[in-house]
Symmetry: D3
Subunit: 69 residues, 6 copies
């Protein structure tokens, strides 16, 4: 079922750690991917982002979901 979330990055689980009610999962990316980010226009202008810039996509672990067949 197609999902509005722009980012689906294929990978392989490399580790899982379980706490009382939370859990962390490590996924190794195995396929090239494009990441889509939505930020404020102000941020894009402050960073003077333009095509070809070397950047990092930064994501808090609690914002990453996992999907598995």
């Amino acid at each position: 079922m197609p999902l509005s979330a722009r980012n689906r990055i294929e990978g392989v689980v490399k580790g899982i750690e379980k706490g009382g009610v939370a859990s962390t999962v490590k996924v190794e990316i195995t396929k090239p991917a494009i990441i889509t980010s939505m930020i404020t226009r102000e941020a894009a202008e402050d960073l003077d982002l333009k095509e070809g810039d070397e950047v990092e996509a930064v994501i808090k672990a609690s914002e990453v979901m996992v999907s598995k067949d």
Copy 2:
């Protein structure tokens, strides 16, 4: 300045689109990376996640920040 955010994925900007106050940025990943996810323990168990599983890391665009030198 080191940041608690677990995920910093290197890439190159492939496109930017600007709206009134928001902006979308496309970043092509250029380097292998490990993505860390924090989900509920219940979700990890429902999906029966284990090492070696083929999965997708799914991320809403509005949760992705961009960092640039």
Copy 3:
């Protein structure tokens, strides 16, 4: 005190689980509600969303707050 968050869905607590520093809460919806979503324009167009479509609102548990009188 009115809050910008668009979604306030009335329900009853059906279960709570406590971990070391996190906690999960199950809330059974008891009243019809409209859910507002903000996604990228690109996602709305890729899914070809239009009035009358049957859809699912998908939300990561860590994005849901609880309010109680």
Copy 4:
């Protein structure tokens, strides 16, 4: 493809509004549902949450995704 996101609430699209790069979607819930929330243990204790409590699940619109077949 099963997703770690705990909340998938069925509904019907009641309206869409498109901006430059963002979009808002209104979804009317058409089926009873249980919403799972992950909050801090401290918050659960401050609110003294327990089974049977009448509460609201509060969600920022930008945290809601949409899925459509």
Copy 5:
């Protein structure tokens, strides 16, 4: 109505900008406050966080709600 969200920081609106469907609001903090953060245990240990450390609380604008009487 008390809310599980740990952070309620008092301030005064210094500016608003409206786009098609999104809007940005600038709030000047007018009162001392404690900010609560939930991160992975791994992040807390990697940063070797301890009482007395000088740090920054970093928050994406799209994660900040506004409440007004």
Copy 6:
């Protein structure tokens, strides 16, 4: 490395609590700051936000990152 995240609030760590895989950190703000929020245009209009309004910036703990030199 400059980051798109609009909010970097300086403070001092006042306490840390560690669970199995998550951790909470308390940061006391030590410097005046402006907080930027991105909400829906509808929310800004419903709250009738305007310059000079006394408001609260409300943030879920799981949305706050920590940065340390």
